[in-house]
């Protein structure tokens, strides 16, 4: 295969056959797993109908990793797992171990190397996040730095089970929301607060005016003529600073050092267990960017987590807890102010009003 690829410059060779990477015990018991047990926040065991066991040790990763990181985890996998390992959706590394005797030594090795073992059960899961200042031009904030700052503070909740249920935090550095963060227990989202600037010279060279106009969710972009040449103008009264125009037209930059920052959203979930999947709702409309450690965001997340830990019943996700106690109480106990920004005035906003006399007084 490799030879043929070299000679002919083949394209479209397609997805690699995953069977090549399945360990013998997985191949043997594929589709025949009976149950699993969580041993501790870093370890679980899956037991097959045949009685075979597969141990999994989970380790956090920052998603953006070096070649040296990759070699570290490969060395561990070779030493204890016959070279087998996988990643999770939330960017964790999972070591797949057949021999129970290897579990503890593997964990010790990881800890010696300074890696974080945990993330299974009623924990704060690894934060799914986007590219930020490290690699994206649309970002209203950095991603990795905020995530690192929050996870440092919540570290105990990744390595120990101390919460009523699992808490999934997600981060996106602009409304494109590459990580689809909008259904997380706690979501942190980069937010612009000023309209795009228009660079007319570049606009004429780089942008197609009809598609730029069509990109706007609020119809705030109108065709215009400047010095007899085609241009666009933005209605600043109706612009919601979403940055969609910048995605299609590079001559409409929206990033703004003084006015960009982060918003906090709560109570979303994707699983169907008990209640239906739901979007996260606005808790804090804006916190200024305060690098390198973002204390404003870290404190807000901590406040939510502490109140949740105190108030939720075992098994309740953040959204289920808030549904039970009501939003007025959520704002009261967290001390977050409820403002005009919390009332939805976008499309379908009117469906979110309280059409009843129900109020917890």
């Amino acid at each position: 295969m490799a030879e043929e690829v070299k000679k002919k410059r083949l394209t479209d060779i397609g997805p690699h056959d995953y069977n090549e990477y399945l360990s013998p015990v997985i191949k043997k018991n594929y589709g025949k797993w009976a149950y699993h047990e969580i041993i501790d926040p870093g370890t679980m065991v899956h037991v097959a109908e045949s009685g075979d066991k597969l141990y999994t040790v989970r380790m956090g990763s920052p998603r953006l990793v070096s070649g040296s990181f990759v070699r570290d985890i490969c060395d561990i996998a070779d030493k204890y797992c016959g070279g087998h390992l996988r990643f999770t959706t939330r960017n964790n590394v999972e070591f797949l171990i057949e021999d129970e005797k290897n579990v503890e030594p593997l964990k010790k090795d990881l800890e010696k190397m300074g890696y974080n073992v945990g993330g299974i059960g009623n924990i704060v899961a690894n934060i799914v996040h986007t590219q930020g200042w490290v690699h994206c031009h649309t970002s209203a904030s950095d991603a990795s730095g905020v995530v690192k700052s929050v996870m440092d503070e919540l570290y105990e909740y990744f390595v120990e089970e101390k919460l009523p249920s699992k808490v999934r935090i997600a981060f996106a550095c602009c409304l494109n929301m590459c990580g689809s963060v909008s259904s997380s227990d706690i979501a942190i989202v980069g937010t612009h607060r000023k309209p795009p600037r228009i660079d007319l010279e570049r606009l004429r060279n780089l942008c197609e005016i009809p598609s730029t106009i069509a990109a706007c969710p609020t119809n705030s972009i109108r065709p215009d003529t400047v010095d007899g040449k085609p241009a666009v103008k933005v209605n600043e009264e109706t612009c919601v600073f979403c940055g969609s125009c910048y995605t299609v037209c590079p001559a409409m930059p929206i990033a703004n050092a003084e006015n960009d920052g982060l918003s906090i959203w709560v109570g979303g979930k994707v699983s169907n267990a008990r209640t239906k999947p739901t979007f996260s709702k606005l808790a804090i409309p804006f916190i200024p960017n305060d690098p390198p450690r973002w204390p404003g965001v870290v404190n807000a997340v901590k406040t939510i987590l502490n109140e949740y830990k105190k108030g939720a019943e075992p098994g309740e996700r953040v959204g289920e807890w808030i549904d039970r106690i009501g939003w007025p109480r959520f704002f009261k106990i967290t001390g977050f102010p409820f403002t005009k920004y919390h009332i939805d005035d976008f499309r379908l906003g009117e469906t979110t009003m309280n059409y009843s006399s129900h109020a917890r007084l």
Binding site: I26, S66, S68, T89, T138, A214, A215, R274, N289, P291
Partner: protein, 395 residues
């Protein structure tokens, strides 16, 4: 060893217990010198609180219209190492299973031809190699292809499909997520590699309604495992759980349809009223199992906020017999997908995701277009307003 750029702000992010991405970038820079300049530029962003990337710019591999994202520094003179800092998206192995041999080779490629940095994985599920120039793209592509890996999707095309670990390591999986994920990726390579859609389109596969890959929140077509017949109960194991915790309070009382109760010591379930939410099975994995008639639900239209607001996937097909269809090379689902794409191509406008199109033209028009009948599972409840548009054929 002298550092090329002083990074006092980033150095703050080397402290603390959680693994540090700054240390990772530094480790990459030890192997691939250009990445020093990435540290410099990110430090500058930390100082002025804005990013310093130009908007886009093209990058690509011959024969492909997708798979690379162009990235150019705003200050190429100051940070020549990242003047071009493109990333390449690579289709992952389904379920993200790998071995050390492949990963080591990939690490070598990233250091030899790029910035020595990788993403495991991007939000869509691609492996990404970061920090290469256009001139190096061909070398990276060749090296990756020789390992038997291919480029992923980007732009207005089918994005790289992804799936949960499914039957490889989860007892909850109702169908083989990895098999269908690989099969459909293979089937639609052209749609993946050569953007010709109105906008992006995503498939994601979860083996049960815990939905570990968040398919219903972020894929245009979400496949979520389910079953039709009765939940299998092991009464002995139920009794064991009752000794450990309050099964009535934490399991039965939380069932969304209250379809479980105790008859004496034995657990009973009114399966006709069960909505397959997985709660009871999650809590009592040794005692309860999905039935034998397994398949998946198909939800359509999920997307992120831009342009017209976020959408959650909505029920389109409550039960798709994927295990049966697998025997016919997934013919049924392929014909449904092709109907959908035709409808989207004909009626959709540029940058309109399929969920937004359905919102604009109405679910009925869409169903007619793709040849499905309206059924009550598709709605939360029937309409409550009286503005019915009766049609001519209703005599």
């Amino acid at each position: 060893m002298g550092k090329k750029h002083q990074t006092p702000l980033l150095d703050e992010l080397k402290k603390g217990k959680w693994i540090s991405f700054v240390k990772e970038i530094e480790r990459a820079a030890e192997k691939s010198e250009r990445t020093e300049d990435l540290l410099g530029q990110v430090e500058e962003s930390y100082r002025d609180k804005v990013n310093h990337w130009k908007h886009g710019g093209m990058a690509g591999v011959k024969g492909y219209g997708a798979g690379m994202v162009g990235r150019f520094s705003e200050y190429p003179d100051k940070y020549p190492g990242i003047k071009e800092c493109h990333s390449m998206r690579i289709i992952p192995s389904a379920g993200f299973f790998y071995n050390s041999d492949f990963l080591r080779k990939l690490a070598d490629i990233s250091e030899k031809h790029a910035g020595g940095l990788l993403n495991f994985h991007g939000a869509t599920g691609n492996i990404q190699i970061l920090g290469m120039s256009q001139a190096e793209a061909e070398d990276v592509f060749q090296a990756v292809a020789e390992l038997g890996f291919d480029l992923g999707g980007s732009g207005s095309d089918l994005r790289t499909p992804s799936c949960c670990a499914g039957q490889a390591r989860c007892e909850f999986a109702n169908y083989d997520t990895m098999k269908i994920c690989r099969h459909l990726t293979e089937e639609y390579l052209d749609e993946l590699h050569r953007p010709a859609f109105n906008y992006k389109f995503k498939f994601k596969f979860s083996g049960c309604s815990n939905d570990c890959v968040a398919s219903a929140a972020r894929s245009d077509l979400a496949f979520i495992g389910t079953w039709k017949d009765k939940i299998k109960i092991n009464q002995e194991e139920v009794k064991n759980y009752k000794k450990k915790f309050d099964v009535q309070k934490y399991v039965l009382d939380k069932c969304p349809t209250k379809c479980m109760w105790f008859e004496g010591e034995n657990l009973a379930i009114d399966d006709e009223n069960c909505v397959k939410c997985m709660h009871c099975i999650n809590e009592l994995p040794k005692a309860l199992k999905a039935g034998d008639e397994r398949g998946c639900s198909i939800l359509i239209g999920a997307k992120a906020p831009l342009v017209t607001g976020p959408r959650m996937g909505m029920m389109l097909v409550p039960f798709y017999d994927v295990n049966e269809d697998a025997k016919n090379d997934y013919e049924w689902i392929k014909s449904l997908i092709s109907n959908m794409w035709e409808f989207w191509d004909e009626y959709g406008v540029s940058r309109e995701r399929i969920g937004e199109l359905i919102g604009r033209v109405g679910l009925n028009t869409f169903l007619e277009g793709i040849g499905l009948e309206p059924i009550p599972e598709m709605v939360e409840h029937p309409r409550s307003n009286p503005f019915i548009k009766f049609t001519e054929d209703e005599d």
